[in-house]
């Protein structure tokens, strides 16, 4: 009985039912082939980097709806900056994302705007700026180094980047005082402020991390596609929020883990992958993700009512 109640068991079998899904997927032709697993890894890696940022923001009691638009901005910026070298391009994407994150952070902490509304406004402004800059057309790159960055066989470089980001975030959250502080701010902002934590700075830092990671994810996606598209990432905030919620984060802060969010993301990634193999049209996938998020938020709300703070 004890084994059934262990967190790892729950994390893999119940919330989310990742292992059962994988077992079912075995009956789907070609799921376990190297090619498909590589596709799966590619698909989860860019979203995954975003999920890490979103999870950190959610632990601090915030939310970031701008991640998808920032991702598009990162991709476009990376391609536009390529002529100055790959390093400038990568740094540019991350820094632009960080700037947008700083703005979100300032809106939330200095102007005290509700994080959902602040980042929704940021989302629209960033999307508008990117669409205006590119004249709504994707920017294409044929740079060899850049395209190579989007490859990697059998393990895509983007997936390696994801693993590195997860490892760093895990260390940051679980072994550094900074991580404890972020959890403290999310759990009870007033108490955190009274114990001398610089709440506004900490929260802004979380948004900066989320913005930078979204920018980098945009760069990696652009490298894979060979184009920086101004319209990508529309559903990214949903996927990221769903993964973080599955991973134990809550919309009121103070909870969540990067490892859990990763499992959540794998679950969603496998689900979408299986639907792709079976030829399910994209609108059913959109429905599934929307429905999943809706169900998760309802569960989140009911759990909060059962054990109120």
């Amino acid at each position: 009985m004890n084994a059934l109640a262990s967190p790892i068991f729950i994390r893999l079998f119940v919330k989310p039912p990742l292992v059962p899904l994988l077992i079912v997927a075995t009956f789907v032709n070609g799921f376990w082939s190297v090619g498909n697993l590589r596709t799966l890894a590619e698909a989860v890696s860019t979203d995954g980097i975003v999920v890490v940022g979103m999870t950190i923001v959610m632990i601090a009691g915030g939310f970031d709806l701008s991640v998808g638009a920032v991702m598009a901005m990162g991709g476009v910026a990376a391609v536009v900056l390529l002529p100055y070298g790959i390093v400038v391009s990568a740094v540019g994407a991350a820094v632009l994302g960080g700037v947008s994150g700083t703005l979100s952070g300032l809106l939330v902490t200095r102007l005290r705007i509700n994080p959902f509304i602040a980042t929704l406004a940021m989302m629209v402004m960033v999307r508008g700026a990117v669409l205006a800059y590119t004249d709504t057309r994707p920017v294409v790159s044929l740079d060899d180094t850049f395209l190579a960055l989007g490859g990697g066989y059998p393990v895509p470089y983007a997936f390696m980047a994801l693993i590195a980001v997860i490892a760093l975030a895990y260390l940051l959250l679980n072994t550094r005082p900074w991580g404890r502080h972020v959890y403290a701010v999310g759990a009870d902002e007033r108490a955190a402020a009274m114990s001398g934590l610089r709440v506004q700075l900490l929260k802004t830092q979380c948004y900066v991390i989320s913005g930078s990671l979204s920018g980098i994810a945009g760069l990696l996606l652009a490298a894979r596609l060979g184009t920086g598209s101004p319209i990508i990432g529309e559903s990214t905030p949903l996927t990221a929020a769903a993964a973080a919620l599955i991973g134990g984060a809550s919309l009121r802060g103070g909870e969540g883990s990067v490892a859990g969010a990763f499992v959540g993301l794998l679950f969603i990634g496998c689900l979408v992958n299986v639907m792709n193999i079976l030829g399910v049209p994209s609108y059913y996938q959109r429905m599934t993700i929307g429905g999943l998020l809706f169900a998760l938020v309802v569960t989140d709300g009911m759990l909060m009512r059962l054990r109120p703070r």
Partner: protein, 321 residues
Amino acid sequence: MSEAVLPRRRVHVTDVVTPIWLVLVVVIVIAALISDRFLSPGNVAAVLQQGVITGIVALGMTVVLVGGEFDLSTGATVMMAAVVALLLGPDGGVGIAVAIAVPLLIGAGIGAVNGLAVYRAGANSIVATIGMQFLVIGAVLALVSGQHVRADAIGETFTALTHARPLGVPLPVFVFAALVAALAIVMSQTVFGRHIYAIGGDVEAATRAGIPVARIGIATYVISGVLAATSGVLIASLVGHLDPTAIGGYEFPALTAVVLGGTSLSGGVGRPADTAGAILVIAVITNVMTILNYQYPIQLLVQGMVLTGAVAFYSWRRGGA
């Protein structure tokens, strides 16, 4: 709960002339100075038409937000209603009635589910209604297999509904005006309306005062769903055919108008008439930008700035909320 959050019963001048209407006058004057085409009858009708579609959506979101919650599924509901109305092939008297009633009912259903999730289960309304948005858009696209929708049997009476121009003003403008008036009365003069303000002002206090919070809250979402669907039916009648992937995104300009009109993001404050004023402000700004050839991306950017500015302004004026 303080007296200030309760709507006043007697009508004062300041009830009608709120700052947003002054802003509207200023914006119109500037617009007329920038472009001599702005005040031409055809363009004014276009501004009103554009404002009305988003405006009806914004009215519903105002009601929900006065109760302290958000409804971001409205854009998807607009699309659903437009597609369903066209698919039903509105021809003949009964056909038209069905093509109007069914989308409105589905809109009410979507609102009821949102309301149950938020008020019964305690779900975060922003994320839940964004989830609903994707659910509805996905379902509608699945229904039409992502194809362009063209009504086979669209009757002329159905299109005439919105193309009629009594007194030279498009009929949807009258519909909008009637809805604003009706909601203004409901919100300020009925027990139901006052309960919504009470819930938005302080849920805890409202519960303790014996107000049926969940029932009223669900009703606000149903109102929002029905109004969004109304907007969709109007679009169906105006356009007659549509590309479901190209329609949408109404929730953002609507939300911007709601906030610009002074509805508090934390609930308890806000009036339908002010939202109507804000909708006109945004319609004028958008129209001028279109005349000056600033396309959609810049308009999006400006809307985001207006929303941020409005939120910051009101939060500063209310001493941080």
